[in-house]
Symmetry: C2
Subunit: 131 residues, 2 copies
């Protein structure tokens, strides 16, 4: 009975835990690492910086940078350091905005975990179930 009542109530909370703001491009762990590094380093980071900070292989980093560039989240700029060619990656303005939106959704995940009673659904007692 209690369960049926909960089912009836659940309509009010439809999608309350769906976390649709967890943008699939950003949510993948390696890409999250890259974007998080870049968000913390406004001046940009070199390929080697990123490889090290994110503990990624060359191949994986290259691949993920390409995905992020195609999604217009970051820009890759060629320059020089001393006499050596140097590539630097930076968040685009759109990338920073989308990253912050993603972070706001992560804060919801944490807030739900910290306040379990925020979206209560009753006792969950089932006849025949162990306590």
């Amino acid at each position: 009975m209690a369960l049926e009542k909960r089912d009836n109530h659940s309509g009010d909370k439809h999608g309350a835990f769906a976390y649709e703001g967890l943008d699939r491009i950003i949510h993948e762990r390696a890409r999250l690492a890259i974007l998080s590094s870049l968000a913390s380093n406004e001046g940009g980071l070199t390929f080697n910086d990123l490889k090290d900070l994110c503990a990624l292989t060359d191949g994986n980093l290259s691949r993920q940078l390409q995905v992020l560039k195609e999604a217009n989240l970051l820009e890759i700029e060629k320059g020089t350091s001393g006499n050596r060619p140097q590539t630097i990656c930076r968040l685009t303005r759109a990338g920073r905005k989308r990253f912050l939106e993603y972070i706001a959704e992560l804060e919801r995940v944490i807030s739900n975990a910290a306040h379990p009673s925020a979206i209560p659904f009753g006792e969950g007692k089932v006849k025949g179930a162990s306590a």
Copy 2:
């Protein structure tokens, strides 16, 4: 030059943004939704509760519940509600522990975003690069 210096320093921060605590089983969005719902409802949730709260299809929810059960993160219990069979899902003790560890790592992601200077890498000025 500035960039080379940063490369030399980056060893100190190796993997600082790797977020290895973002357990792959938990990090997938649909599974994160399920675990987050269950963590907020200690008494457990029915299949229909979860479907609604997480805005998932029957097929996807079934599949993800199976993955989570095989990883020992949740248990699925058969009971009755009135005269009808009723299935209820709950976090296992190990599932709750791993979910909280995952949440702690998410807090690091947010903390890094909130305090960009926590892991600084200099100015990122590249000769020939636009400001």
